[in-house]
Symmetry: C2
Subunit: 368 residues, 2 copies
C-alpha cells in the first residue's frame, strides 16, 4: 500500500475536464497545495467545479490561478470575493462565465464531512432567514427552523499536510488542519502535497491527524514554503486614528483595547476578521480562551518576524502566539464548537453600524 | 478556568432524578468512568435515561450497576443484551420496568455528535428496511433510501480519559477514545474521570484529543485500572474442533486462517465480533490494514499477558498489537470510514448460515 506518486504532474494527470475538485487551505496563501495547483494550471484541465473556502487574491497560488487561466466553470465557496480587490473570479462571475454557490464556512465543511461520512443530507440552523436558504427546505425541530443541506462529494481533493508516511497517514501542524480532513473525506481521490514523506511507522499513532484510509496519493511538494520571506512580510501597518467631526477618534488598537475589556473571565471567545483580531493583543493575563475557526483554541497575541510559526495563525491568517493549554483541530470540530453553542462571545468587525445594531461587513455573517 | 472537582461524589452531586446520562467506554470493562458510576449508584439517583454502547455483564462497573440498583427507566444503546448472559437490564426490559431504544452503533455516535454540533437531524442509510427504521421518515436522495435520525442531547456525560489538564483538555490513549468525544459534545455537562491531572500547558497541543471547551468537570479516578490482574486474565481458551457427522470440522483457528487467506492485499478490513477477530492472528506479513470500530486502524495479532496495553484492543475488547502505520481516532471517525465506503471488506461472525447466505448472529447486523 504505497501511495507515493513521483511528481505533482503525475499526481493530477488523470483529472478530467469537468471534474469537481476541493482545494483545502485557509486564509493567506502559505499552506496550500501549490505544487499541485501549478501542475493543474499547466495541464489546462477545463470546466472545473471548485470547492474551497475562498479563491484568494491575484497572484496567490490557490483556486484563483485556475480562474485566471479560465479553467473554472463553477465555484462552491464561503467567500467568492475579497473587499477592495478585483480578481478573475469576480470578473467571470459578473460576466456569467462562472457560476457561484455561496455556502457559510461551517456549512461547507459540514456538507463535505457528511459526504465523506455517507450522510446524504442534514439540517442546520445556519442561514435560516437569509438568501443562502432560498429554495431550500426549511423544517422545524422542537419549534425552531432549520435548513436542509445536501452533502458534497467531490472527485478530487487537493490537500497540503506537513508530513505523510507512504501509506498516506497524515500529520498536520498547528492550525493548518482546517479544511483538509473534511475535504479528503468528501473526495473519491484525495491527493496530498507534503513537506516530508517518511516510512510507514515513523509517525507515532498519536500524531496521525488523518488516517491514510482517507488518502489516495501522496506527493512531495516542489514548492517549500519560504518562511524567511514570510517573516519579513509580517511587519504591521501603522495604526492612525480617523477623524470624526474634525477630532481624532480611537485608533483601531484603541477600539480593540476597549473590546478586550468587555470580555468575561473564563470565557471562550471567537474574534471575527479584521479589527476584532487585534483584541488578542490586549487580553494580557486574563483567563480567556480564543477560538480560531481554522482550528486553534487558546491562541495569544499577534507575532511578527522571527516569532512566527508558519502554522500558528488566527482565522484572518495573522500569525499569533500560543497560550498554555492551546489545542489544534480541524474546521469541522471548530464549527461543532460554534454551532453547538460552546463559544461564549463572538466579536464582530463591521464597517458601519446603525442605531439598531445593523452591521455592514463583508464576511462575518457568512462565517458561522 | 479550573475544572477540577475534588471527588467523584462531588462531580455527580447535582445530577437529578430523571436525568439523561451518556456513559462512554467500549466493550470490556477496563476503561469506564468507574469512580463516577459507583458514586452515582451510591447516591441512588432514580429514573435515569442512559445512553451507551452496551450495559455490560453482571458485576461489570458500567451502566449495569445502575440497572441492578433499579435506577434506570430508559436505555438508548447499540446492544441491550449479551448472548448467554442474563442481566438486570434484560429482566427489567422483559418486565417493562425499563424501556429500550436500540440504535446501530454508528448511528448512536453520529446522533450524539450531531447533538453536540447543533445539527438537529440527519439522514443515514443505516437501518433502512429494518425494524430500527419503523416509524421513522424514509426519504430518497439520488435514488437511494435513507432514514431520518434525530440528534441526541444529554444532560450529563460520564467519560474516562487518560490525562486532563485543569482546563479540561483531554488526552486519551490508543483505542480508548471510542464514544468519549461524541458523548462529551452531546452533553450539557461532560464529567471526565482521569488517571492523571496535570497543569495547563503540560499536554502538548498536538496530543490534546478533545479540547476543554467540550468538558465541564475533571476528577481523578479513585479506581485505577488493575493492569496486572488484566494481564493474568487474558489467557486464551483451548480451541477444539466441533464434530460434524461424527468427524471433526475446522477449529475456530482453522476457519480464521481460511478467512485470512481470502483477504486482498492492500485492503482495509473490519473484523466482526467473535471468531472473525481471530483472523488478525493469521495475516502474517500481508499488506492488510485492520479497522477496529472503537478507533484503531492498523492493529495486529491478539496478545496476552505482559504484552497487553490497556488501551490497545480490537472491537471485541481483545488486546492486540499495533502494526507500523497504526492510527487512533474516535467512533465518529471510525464510522465515517465504514459508512463512507472506505472499508474494503468486513468479515462477519455468524452462529448459523443458510444456503442463501442468511446469517444468524447477535451483533454484527446492528454494528454499522
Amino acid at each position: 500500500m504505497d501511495k507515493v506518486v513521483a511528481s505533482p504532474e503525475q499526481a493530477i494527470a488523470d483529472i478530467p475536464d469537468g471534474a469537481t475538485i476541493a482545494i483545502a487551505g485557509f486564509s493567506l496563501g502559505h499552506r496550500f497545495a501549490t505544487s499541485l495547483l501549478l501542475a493543474l494550471r499547466e495541464r489546462g484541465t477545463k470546466s472545473l467545479c471548485l470547492v474551497c473556502n475562498s479563491m484568494g487574491g491575484p497572484g496567490e497560488i490557490r483556486g484563483q490561478i485556475l480562474a485566471e487561466n479560465k479553467q473554472v466553470r463553477k465555484l462552491i465557496a464561503a467567500f467568492s470575493t475579497r473587499p477592495g480587490v478585483e480578481t478573475a473570479t469576480d470578473a467571470q462571475i459578473a460576466s456569467g462565465e462562472m457560476t457561484v454557490e455561496l455556502v457559510p464556512q461551517g456549512t461547507l465543511v459540514e456538507r463535505c464531512r457528511a459526504g465523506g461520512a455517507g450522510i446524504p443530507a442534514f439540517y442546520t440552523p445556519t442561514s435560516v432567514g437569509t438568501a443562502i436558504a432560498d429554495g431550500k427546505e426549511v423544517r422545524e425541530f422542537d419549534g425552531k427552523p432549520y435548513v436542509l443541506e445536501r452533502a458534497i462529494r467531490v472527485d478530487y481533493a487537493l490537500l497540503r499536510a506537513h508530513r505523510a508516511d507512504r501509506a498516506g497517514n497524515l500529520q498536520f501542524r498547528g492550525g493548518s488542519q482546517n479544511f483538509n480532513p473534511s475535504f479528503a473525506k468528501a473526495a473519491r481521490v484525495a491527493i496530498v502535497e507534503v513537506d516530508e514523506i517518511v516510512d510507514v511507522g515513523e509517525i507515532a499513532p498519536e500524531l496521525i491527524d488523518l488516517p491514510g484510509i482517507f488518502v489516495s496519493r501522496i506527493v512531495k511538494s516542489t514548492r517549500p514554503v519560504d518562511l524567511s520571506s514570510l517573516r519579513k512580510s509580517t511587519r504591521r501597518a501603522p495604526d492612525t486614528a480617523r477623524l470624526y467631526n474634525g477630532k481624532p477618534g480611537l485608533t483601531r488598537a484603541g477600539i480593540a483595547k476597549r473590546a478586550a475589556r468587555l470580555v468575561k473571565e473564563g470565557s471562550y471567545v471567537n474574534l471575527g476578521t479584521g479589527m476584532p483580531t487585534m483584541v488578542s493583543n490586549y487580553l494580557e493575563s486574563r483567563d480567556v480562551v480564543l477560538h480560531a475557526e481554522n482550528g486553534i483554541l487558546g491562541y495569544g497575541e499577534m507575532v511578527s518576524g522571527d516569532d512566527i510559526d508558519l502554522d500558528i495563525y488566527n482565522a484572518s491568517g495573522q500569525f499569533v502566539s500560543l497560550r498554555p493549554g492551546a489545542s489544534f483541530f480541524d474546521s469541522v470540530t471548530s464549527f461543532e464548537m460554534a454551532r453547538g453553542g460552546r463559544i461564549d462571545t463572538v466579536i464582530l468587525g463591521a464597517y458601519e453600524v446603525d442605531q439598531h445594531a445593523n452591521l455592514a461587513n463583508w464576511s462575518t455573517s457568512t462565517a458561522f
